[in-house]
């Protein structure tokens, strides 16, 4: 009996292993099988993958809405949305062919191109920058020029250049300790709340709300916008373009892929229009896809994201030449790119065609107005 026990053990282990690997393998075979039939019959949906810049949140609401509302399906697309994360660079994922479409900030795309990566922006979804520096009202720092001699927090690794450009514009050298002390800011607002920095970087749609979701220990009430000065990079005149859709250059060179891309953009734009006109339903879609997200915070984020997209007088997703030039100039000024960016970093024809096909919808959102979203404690 005792001699047999190891046999049972080995059998058990092997069985469990096969059961588990078998399950996993089975799923993949199923998917592969579906793909084959898709290639065989033209009626089947085209499989494409979208790589997000960051984890599921309202910043990407339009794509999730397009998926859940069947807009991609309407265009004959079977879209997989892959959330991003700390170790995921969307440009690399797209360049290696693991996704057809990627979302990232324009300077990041320019940097990849500068190093020889063949990727092209096909739609600039966010028409404005959400980057701000916030200060406490009682600090008296109301403009970029007031930051001389102060401790200014900003994120590293490519997110600091809008601020650097703004400081330089005001005659403050970000590299000179006598002019300003730049503090490498972690991805939370702790330093600011504890007043260890005089100014801190905050996206309108995320970190700004994180401050407002905190209780002021002196009053026991939540902080309000009256407690803060919010200095936007748009006002400072050094805004850089953020979330846009990009693809591989050699992929988009093929005509059939241009058709896929145009359909993808059309459905995605419909998703964003849906999220503008039906914020409650759109919010629910985001929350269903991110069970650990707080509702209050995501409601705020969706509203602010809408404000970065709408209104758009050329129609959603069509790159503005002037904004592109400014972004590229700042990128070159601070060494993000070594060579001047060229116009073939982006194309507007696909976005324009998608917008034209959506003639029955309001693609400009001129009448849209920002809602007043009430913050909730802790973003719940």
């Amino acid at each position: 009996m005792k001699g047999r026990t190891w046999l049972w053990l080995a059998a058990l282990l092997v069985a469990a292993l096969f059961a588990l690997v078998g399950c996993g393998g089975g799923d993949e075979e199923g998917e592969a099988g579906g793909g084959e039939t898709a290639a065989g019959e033209t009626q089947e949906a085209t499989k494409v993958t979208l790589q997000l810049k960051w984890v599921t949140q309202a910043q990407f609401a339009g794509y999730y809405a397009a998926l859940e509302q069947g807009f991609y399906e309407d265009e004959g697309l079977d879209v997989t949305i892959k959330p991003g994360g700390p170790d995921i660079t969307p440009e690399q994922v797209v360049a290696s062919g693991q996704a057809e479409f990627g979302i990232n900030w324009l300077p990041s795309l320019l940097a990849t191109r500068d190093q020889g990566g063949d990727i092209v922006n096909i739609a600039q979804v966010f028409a404005r920058s959400g980057m701000t520096e916030v200060t406490w009202k009682d600090s008296g720092i109301e403009t970029i020029a007031d930051m001389r001699g102060k401790k200014v927090g900003v994120w590293c690794c490519g997110n600091q250049f809008e601020l650097y450009a703004a400081l330089t514009k005001n005659g403050i050298d970000p590299k000179d300790k006598n002019d300003v002390t730049i503090v490498d800011q972690p991805f939370d607002m702790n330093l600011f709340i504890k007043r260890e920095v005089d100014a801190a970087a905050a996206m309108t749609y995320n970190e700004l709300a994180q401050v407002l979701e905190q209780k002021n220990p002196e009053t026991g009430e939540l902080y309000t916008l009256d407690d803060l000065n919010v200095i936007t990079m748009e006002e400072a005149g050094t805004a850089m373009l953020e979330d846009g859709v990009f693809v591989r250059g050699d992929w988009i060179a093929e005509e059939q892929n241009q058709d896929v891309a145009r359909r993808f953009l059309k459905a995605s734009f419909r998703g964003w229009i849906y999220c503008r006109d039906n914020p409650d339903e759109c919010l629910q879609i985001v929350l269903d896809n991110g069970p650990t997200l707080g509702e209050g915070h995501q409601r705020w984020m969706l509203n602010e994201i809408n404000a970065l997209i709408w209104p758009n007088d050329t129609g959603i997703g069509v790159m503005d030449e002037e904004d592109f030039e400014r972004t590229a100039d700042i990128a070159e000024q601070f060494g993000v790119i070594k060579k001047p960016a060229t116009d073939d970093a982006y194309r507007t024809d696909l976005a324009e065609a998608a917008v034209a096909e959506l003639k029955d919808e309001d693609v400009k959102g001129e009448g849209w107005e920002k809602e007043q979203v009430e913050v909730t404690e802790g973003g719940e």
Partner: protein
């Protein structure tokens, strides 16, 4: 009685840990303790009862309880970890058997197997994702990477631990290598193997959580940790509560292996509850 005593010990240990945490917190807050950038307050060290209470609060307005959300995530991660563990254990054992039978291979490969464990998993994980494409399999492979090493090392020791007299007896019967392996050496190695399995089981949970982040997987504990880390300022206890659940998952894995050990091994070198 031993059950009672064990329960009492457990309670005493938990109470001591609670007292240590809360005592340090109270002391730190009273004297305004600062260690580098670390200050003691509700942000850096939430009350333990707040952490546990957080589990039974809604995860968001009108949402399910946090513990339900985390239980779902833990189950998801558990499946990846189990697959990784089984894969790693099988590979680790097979490697051990091969190396045991060839001094040459052992001398040639063992240093690299040891070296493989000095490469941080954080550096390996993104590469595995590039090779295998992001998904369920890449997570299991990353978990397996953390799992196989202790099994290989202990299998090597265990296979060599067979009683030499029994070995001589088998040889005198002209038993084949195969028969000696399965009838003598493997049974002799079981206590060693299970020691390794216990280490590996918890490591596989860590591997699965780390592997989720570069694999675009948000349904497990890795995704929850990332999100609660991002919104730490909004709700510090949520991240701590998630870590608590992750630790519990590791303990569950350990207990399952320990239970199997009780069934299969009578001559254990050490007994851990």
């Amino acid at each position: 009685m031993p059950v009672l005593r064990r329960a009492a010990t457990l309670l005493a240990v938990l109470a001591a840990l609670w007292a240590l945490w809360e005592g340090f917190k109270a002391f730190g807050e009273a004297v305004g303790l600062r260690i580098g950038a670390f200050t003691v307050d509700d942000l850096s060290m939430p009350h333990l009862h707040d952490i546990v209470a957080q589990l039974f609060e809604p995860s968001r307005r009108n949402g399910p309880l946090l513990i339900e959300v985390l239980a779902d995530a833990a189950l998801f991660t558990a499946k990846e970890a189990a697959a990784g563990f089984l894969l790693g254990a099988a590979i680790g054992f097979a490697l051990g058997v091969v190396l045991h039978h060839s001094q040459l291979l052992q001398r040639g490969f063992l240093p690299y197997i040891v070296a493989s464990q000095t490469v941080p998993i954080l550096a390996i994980a993104p590469m595995v994702v590039v090779w295998l494409k992001a998904g369920w399999l890449s997570v299991a492979v990353i978990a397996a990477y953390l799992t196989f090493f202790p099994v290989t090392i202990n299998a090597l020791r265990g296979l060599g631990s067979a009683d030499p007299r029994a070995l001589e007896l088998m040889r005198s019967y002209a038993a084949s290598r195969w028969a000696i392996l399965w009838k003598l050496k493997v049974p002799a190695s079981l206590p060693y193997l299970f020691s390794a399995f216990k280490v590996s089981a918890t490591a596989s949970v860590v591997g699965a959580i780390i592997g989720e982040l570069p694999s675009s997987i948000q349904d497990g504990l890795g995704g929850a940790i990332l999100n609660f880390n991002q919104y730490y300022l909004s709700s510090p206890p949520s991240l701590w509560a998630t870590n608590l659940i992750a630790a519990l998952l590791g303990i569950c894995f350990f207990l399952v292996v320990a239970a199997l050990e009780r069934i299969f091994v009578r001559r254990a070198p050490e007994h851990v509850a």
